[in-house]
Symmetry: C2
Subunit: 628 residues, 2 copies
């Protein structure tokens, strides 16, 4: 993202009425270095030069007043600034008054209504069963969504006359939607590139018409690699507030989408709160809730119960749904001699159903009907890999690739119905077998976006699976995966807490950015360059503020050299004040910086004797005197 047209927040937004920013160009508003440290807003920190430091919310304006793309603008102590992609939503804008009980403003509200192809309708009745509360009032129950969320009243929307109201449909018709323009600005590419990639099925822009609160984002191999964070209560622990907090926490550190994988009580209500407060697309696995509705008995699942659950979640605003329609009856026995069988929950539910009825999967059989439902809300498919390998031994086996071929077939069906589609991928895969996964997926699925979990490159390090998988994630993203599902240190062991969520997100932002660099994404290296410049020039505060995690970087520095002067000192604790390689480099740069550019070693050596004499005359000083 370039710096031009970046504006800082000048007025508060509410209920979708976005006032235009005043002033032109870049102007910093005093804001918190603390905003990078925690979701609290409004703190102001000043450097000793009196300038405000840290990062600030800024907006890049599009072609219409209500199209303002947020960015994280880092102000450096040398007077420059660096503008970075920002996923943290209005929570980090001190001019916006957010309240989790009211929800975020419907940023896209006017865009959706303006298209005139959707309509409000009463929606299906919400029942206590939707929240996992059994055998109380079988019919009736809550009449609409207001009862589960205290925010503004709202009826669900869907397409008029069963038309496809998807970004894919618009893109194919040659239309650049405001959502497409929004992501084009975010990605620093032209809107036409965005439209083309979506039209070709190589990218998705998940944006349910019932989730107007999101800041649009795109998932595709020609764009920045994205990161998903999973949250969700379970039968063992649960709390609505905790899940909303985890969502904002994850997006604060850089999660591009969040999947709500709740399985316990209050599953409907939790999802409503998460959706109304989420600035990023929300994904789910409807099968989990459907299973709750039949008391965990997979064989009692029916197409009707499943479809009703999908409608329920689509009305709430879920942006993409994992559908395990590739777990077909004949593939189940292929997993029998695996080391770790079926490790996907969705996959195992469908396998159990197929076995119990000796029938083909109802998801596979009813896939076209499901496409019609998703097209009416612009819910994006995430075709689940229910047969993904759960161990190194099972990677790239017959079951996995049989399912992948079916996902390729379903991808073509979904496209006929104008449903945006991405494909999920493994799992546990050793490094030498990773590339085959992405190559085969791209070939079989017509370059639909690949969305992978890791992959984990070894099984031996429980408690460090963010790292075993971060390695595989960086590699597969370099080779073309569009979105990475994070893995936390608790994988295989327990439920992630706040620290685990942060560690997972940061690890995956590293993997994603490493891949952006390797793919040569426009502007990706500017971030690295800015940080390395700060490092070379001993601008410690700038290093911290540019870091993916400013808090921990600052804390680690202060452990060894806590005093405030050390943050402006021209040395670091690795070498101490007496000796410093950076100083020598500065000296070399001063001597040769002008002459050496583009010259060969031999050419430069000819001119070195004179320089050497100057060096000696200056006292051979390679260690400059320190201020302290």
């Amino acid at each position: 993202m370039t710096n031009k047209d970046v504006r800082t927040p000048a007025s508060s937004q509410s209920n979708g009425e976005l006032a235009p920013a005043d002033g032109a160009g870049v102007s910093a508003s005093p804001d918190s270095g603390g905003a990078a440290a925690s979701p609290e807003k409004g703190e102001t920190e000043k450097s000793d030069t009196g300038k405000s430091i840290g990062w600030h919310k800024a907006y890049v304006e599009g072609s219409r007043p209500d199209l303002r793309v947020p960015a994280r603008q880092v102000h450096l102590t040398n007077g420059r600034s660096v503008t970075l992609y920002d996923t943290s939503g209005p929570y980090t804008d001190p001019t916006v008054d957010t309240d989790v009980r009211r929800g975020l403003a419907p940023l896209r509200g006017n865009w959706i209504i303006g298209r005139g192809d959707t309509e409000e309708y009463p929606g299906r009745p919400v029942s206590p069963e939707d929240d996992g509360i059994k055998h109380t009032s079988p019919r009736g129950g809550l009449r609409n969504l207001d009862a589960v969320f205290p925010g503004r009243p709202r009826l669900p929307r869907r397409s008029r006359d069963g038309r496809a109201v998807t970004q894919l449909a618009y893109a194919r018709q040659g239309e650049v939607t405001p959502e497409m323009e929004y992501v084009a600005i975010r990605e620093n590419v032209s809107p036409e590139v965005v439209r083309e990639e979506i039209a070709a099925g190589r990218a998705v822009l998940p944006a349910n018409v019932n989730h107007p609160e999101i800041e649009p984002m795109i998932i595709g191999k020609r764009f920045l690699v994205k990161v998903n964070a999973n949250i969700g209560n379970s039968a063992v622990t649960s709390s609505i507030e905790e899940e909303v907090e985890k969502m904002t926490w994850a997006t604060h550190w850089g999660a591009d989408t969040v999947m709500d994988l709740s399985t316990g009580r209050n599953i409907h209500t939790t999802r409503e709160w998460v959706l109304r407060n989420s600035p990023v697309p929300i994904g789910t696995v409807p099968l989990y809730q459907a299973l709750e509705k039949v008391d965990g008995r997979a064989e009692e699942l029916t197409w009707e119960i499943y479809k009703d659950t999908v409608v329920e979640q689509a009305e709430q605003g879920v942006d993409y749904m994992t559908v395990h329609a590739g777990v077909r009856l004949p593939y189940v026995p292929l997993t029998a001699n695996r080391k770790t069988g079926i490790v996907s929950r969705g996959g195992s539910i469908m396998a159990a159903w197929c076995l119990a009825h000796h029938k083909e999967s109802f998801l596979y059989e009813h896939f076209e009907e499901l496409c019609e439902v998703l097209a009416a809300y612009d819910v994006t498919y995430s075709l689940g890999d229910g047969l993904r390998p759960g161990s190194i031994a099972d990677a790239n086996d017959a079951a996995q690739f049989a399912e992948l071929r079916t996902l390729g077939e379903l991808n073509k069906v979904a496209k006929r119905f104008n449903v945006q589609t991405m494909i999920e991928g493994p799992g546990h895969v050793p490094m030498h077998k990773i590339k085959e996964n992405i190559d085969l997926q791209q070939e079989i699925c017509d370059e639909a976006p690949f969305y992978t979990l890791g992959p984990l490159t070894t099984d031996i390090a429980p408690a460090y699976d963010h790292i075993t998988s971060g390695i595989g994630a960086a590699m597969i993203a370099w080779w073309g995966t569009a979105m990475l599902c994070y893995v936390t240190p608790k994988e295989h062991l327990g439920l992630p807490n706040r620290d685990d969520v942060k560690t997972g997100v940061i690890t995956y932002k590293i993997a994603a950015h490493a891949a952006d660099l390797a793919k040569g994404h426009p502007g990706a290296q500017e971030w690295d360059d800015a940080l390395s410049d700060a490092r070379f020039e001993f601008r410690w505060e700038d290093q911290f503020n540019l870091a993916l995690d400013p808090d921990t970087a600052r804390e680690f520095h202060d452990e060894t050299l806590p005093a405030e002067p050390a943050k402006t000192a021209h040395f670091c604790s690795m070498c101490g004040p007496k000796f410093c390689s950076m100083k020598i480099s500065h000296n070399i740069n001063e001597q040769f910086g002008g002459t050496a550019a583009g010259a060969t070693a031999e050419e430069v050596a000819d001119g070195m004797l004179q320089k050497s004499k100057e060096f000696a005359a200056a006292g051979n000083r390679v260690y400059l005197p320190l201020a302290d």
Copy 2:
């Protein structure tokens, strides 16, 4: 490593007199699960079945009674055991009485003496200056090494008549030394493969004749990928005991070698303590100590001071030394327009010297003489990459590759003198530029072992550079790097503490093992398979004990499900007791496990109807009743 011939410790060892183990085959001695948790020994933990659990020190016997290769034997609750490579030294053998003031027994003592090609000699006088104590007693000082270490008296050894007493020389003469046999057992390959790889210069076995305490290990692309951990006091913090403790801590978690990069006071004495207590090869950068001797004034360095420092360290027993002989005068200006100049301390010292004198590097000029010194002690070269890139922007530039070509030239010189040699590599390199590094190094340096720092795949994550670099490390190791120098979370920010050392080592063991898997190292996958089997069968204690870090894995599990019964429960906190994908898989395995092996999906599907009926007859139970 196979299980045959594995014996558990049966008698204590002292002063190199190794009594043969009694009993044959595998027999477990009661030992600590706690040994995996901390360096303390002798604790015994019993499972509720009365069996001892955790891991135990075992020895694989070689062709002579004093050749016993340590292994970590993990005893599983199903009665089986898994034998893993062990770097923790005698500290985890409860039958050995270790004392840091006495040092470890000289395991290789008789092998070195038995060759008859070395002799003891008085050694150079140790002076206070060697410890960084200036201007006190300019001459004389301490007479021998005893004064700096309270352990057994000892004189240094060197070759008789200036002969090369290196493992390279022996290998070229067709001799399989006990050291070679030792590593062959450790690596599960034939001794002849070890000899061939060393003779060809494709592997090194760092083993100074003055460091008889080490358990021999090998570094080469045909062997397990190794990990080095750096320790060392500095001008900012220092303590001898701390450094010794850091060394045993690092090897406890899996460090294969340790580099002592101390730069402050007591540099000589610290090194002596580290060497006498280290079961792994120790590396150094002699230039750091030489610079201390000239009060940090690079231009005052001389070949004589440097050579004397190398002899001092060789007499102490340093196994490999980083020598920045590739930083030549004409290359210095090539770094002038870099983003981060010269980030290597050794590189910048030599660059400063070259500039000050306008002369070619004294290390380059005297390289042959240096080879003679190293050959006399079997010190291995680690040819330093003083011009490695310190940022993404500087990767693979002219300065870096100019130096690499010189290292290739010096490698050939070293081989003429029978000096074992490895080559150091970067640094900061984006993923798409990593492969060029290893390919070029292997070509230019005649396949000499590559020893890389990371590489870091992005600059934007200070405080997480163990991860930014772990990604690059895994990749470059897969492609042929033989040893990885770890990076801790404190990189760029401060000095690593105990936790940082552990995190760095564990992260790099992951990278190394992921590479071993990708390279198909014999037996590497057995570890993953054992852990995945335990996971699939809900043997929680086995999962913990097989984990790279059993403590943290157990702790994370207990955070969510702390009760003792949960460790034997057939479910985990991710799904809770009601629903479990693993259970469904077990059910599928029971139904189809026998029939599906090798069959196609279609063949198996034909036989499924009958199975489905059986499934229904059994009550469609995919959730087995739980014990609790």
